[in-house]
């Protein structure tokens, strides 16, 4: 199973924010859309970073002024991106090992989606459920 099939069922464009926007606006977007991270994109819509709820909490714990600062000051610049052809298993591994919870997905240089650790867990759960369902059906057929 690849990342494309996971993105297919969440076809909406990913929510992005510009680097010069305030952290306060990022907080609002995260709350409105009930998500854990925003892709930071420049005027050309090219990703230049990612800002997560954890980035904001970490900064806010030592600096309560953070909400007025631009996103670019606290975003993560070194972003691991995926492609639609990436295997679900590889993405799950890279998220576990690097302790990251969001992977933006690029297709031919264009941002097409974002995969969260929640998406990966759900996809894996459904994959296993499906396999169990199929095996059970066959075992029941054997008994019949």
């Amino acid at each position: 199973m690849n990342i494309a099939s996971l993105l297919a069922t969440k076809s909406r464009r990913p929510i992005t924010i510009r680097p010069e926007q305030a952290v306060r606006e990022a907080v609002q977007l995260l709350a409105t859309h009930n998500i854990g991270a925003l892709i930071v994109a420049n005027e050309a819509d090219a990703p230049v970073g990612i800002i997560s709820e954890r980035d904001i909490v970490r900064e806010a714990s030592r600096n309560e002024q953070v909400f007025g600062r631009p996103v670019s000051e606290i975003m993560t610049r070194d972003v691991i991106t995926g492609v639609p052809e990436d295997d679900l298993a590889s993405v799950a591994n890279v998220m576990t090992e690097k302790r990251i919870r969001h992977v933006p997905v690029m297709d031919k240089g264009r941002l097409v989606g974002i995969v969260s650790i929640g998406d990966v867990v759900k996809a894996q759960r459904d994959q296993y459920r499906g396999e169990v369902e199929t095996l059970e059906t066959q075992i029941l057929a054997d008994k019949a």
Binding site: A8, T9, D86, S90, V91, T134
Partner: protein
């Protein structure tokens, strides 16, 4: 207006398609506590079950047994099947909006992905799905012809369809005669002169899509010796590293099975099945009359993407493989439905948890949903469609609770039937299908086979006395 979903006003749902995704969606809906729902399921073919009937290989009858679970769903008094009624032709999305509160598209991935290489359309080069549909008796493909007098065949791909095609090509006539393969295919395959079948994977053994039971079965064929090149199943450094980290037992076992095949000596069986890895076709070569005679392959190396997936990278080393018949099985894609949004690059209906999205401004279309391969693309086993349909049905129930459903002017089962009767008087009901099923089974018993299929629409109509 009262919200539908009660005895007084049942929720009227139509499902387009009757494969596993369609039946699982129906099952989830009918099992919902406190929801009174009526389901009308359409299929453009007279027979239900989609790929369970037309895709799953005839020598895998056990997998087809899932149909018994679908029979239980169909036995529900509020379920109706309308076979031989085509969406977009006999009924349009505009018609359905006038008769149902919710519409579910479950039309699957009906076409194959192309390889995109020169010579792909030479005579003797076919989509594997066409061959599968032909040997399974799909009415649309009974006029297809495959040159089984060729001795060397290539199957491009190592997914489950590629494995099915390779295995069917290697089966003996006696083995095939014990299945429900179409009579026409049985006869043609019994006269087959195929001696060597090559299955071509673009990545290495650790990345191959086939499952361990599938690959084991290929090593136990009575009529074909299996062969694997030792140098192609020796893991490269990246695959070894990835496998050491993941310790994935299924993959470790897969590599072990393939390495054992690489050590086997031919035992003199009439056919040979060769599994190749790390090669991609770059061109099909034709003769003077445009028939394929060979395939040019490039050898690949694996490289890791930033997210760690090992992908093939072509090298500058090439080889030529003489083959007279080619089946491509490099992936499937959905077909756009008339009047329904479609994502061309992914071959699916754009959706959010099964809610069909208007491409711009990406808002859900009221009352329209999708499930199965047309929703997520062609992945997973049959059972994967059950949780997938569960997600779509959860979205449908949520929207119903918010009152976001269509407002049909004729929300009654009789009105829908009257419309269908007018558009397609020869529609096939589930009772008709059960009769047809019994007739096929009876013909099968007489021949010592699971069933003998009716494979053409006029034949089906005649069997049901509709001549």
């Amino acid at each position: 207006m009262a919200r539908p979903g009660t005895d007084a006003q049942p929720l009227r749902v139509t499902i387009i398609g009757s494969g596993p995704a369609a039946f699982y969606a129906a099952e989830h809906l009918l099992k919902r506590e406190g929801l009174v729902v009526e389901i009308d399921m359409f299929d453009r073919l007279p027979t239900p079950f989609g790929l369970v009937r037309g895709g799953v290989a005839p020598d895998h009858q056990k997998i087809k047994s899932v149909a018994a679970a679908f029979d239980k769903v169909a036995a529900h008094p509020r379920f109706r099947f309308y076979g031989y009624v085509e969406f977009g032709k006999d009924v349009t999305v505009a018609d359905l909006r006038e008769h149902y509160h919710q519409i579910v598209y479950a039309t699957g991935a009906q076409t194959d992905r192309r390889m995109g290489i020169p010579g792909e359309d030479l005579q003797g080069s076919h989509p594997a799905t066409e061959f599968v549909a032909w040997y399974n008796g799909h009415p649309d493909f009974q006029d297809s012809r495959f040159d089984l007098q060729q001795e060397r065949v290539a199957v491009v791909g190592v997914g489950n369809v590629a494995v099915d095609v390779a295995r069917i090509l290697c089966r003996t006539p006696e083995e095939l005669a014990a299945t429900d393969i179409s009579d026409q295919a049985l006869e043609a395959l019994s006269r087959s002169r195929v001696k060597e079948v090559y299955m071509l994977g673009r990545r290495g053994p650790a990345q191959a899509a086939f499952t361990n039971p599938e690959i084991k079965e290929l090593g136990e064929l009575p009529g074909a010796d299996i062969a694997v090149l030792p140098e192609e199943v020796e893991l490269d450094a990246l695959s070894r590293e990835a496998l050491e980290k993941s310790q994935d037992r299924a993959t470790l076992k897969k590599v072990e099975i393939l390495q054992e095949y690489a050590r086997r000596q031919p035992s003199g069986k009439p056919r040979r099945l060769v599994i190749r890895f790390l090669v991609s076709p770059v061109e099909l070569i034709g003769d003077a009359v445009g028939h394929v005679v060979a395939m040019r392959l490039v050898k690949n190396e694996l490289r890791a993407t930033p997210a760690g997936t090992l992908q093939p990278k072509p090298t500058d080393r090439f080889e030529e493989l003489p083959v007279g018949l080619v089946f491509r099985s490099v992936g499937y894609r959905g077909v756009p439905l008339p009047g329904v949004p479609f994502n061309e690059s992914w071959g699916v209906i754009p959706n959010d948890k099964g809610r069909v999205l208007d491409p711009d401004p990406q808002r859900p279309l009221v009352g329209e949903y999708c499930t199965g391969w047309i929703k997520r693309g062609p992945t997973g086993v049959i059972g994967t469609n059950k949780p997938d349909a569960g997600e779509t049905v959860a979205s449908m129930v949520e929207d119903l609770a918010r009152g976001a459903v269509l407002t049909p002017s004729h929300p009654g089962a009789q009105a829908a039937e009257a419309l269908i009767r007018q558009r397609q008087p020869n529609f096939i009901s589930y009772a008709d299908w059960r009769r047809l099923n019994d007739l096929e089974a009876t013909r099968g018993r007489a021949a010592g086979r699971p069933r003998v299929k009716f494979t053409r629409v006029p034949e089906i109509l005649a069997a049901l006395g509709r001549a």
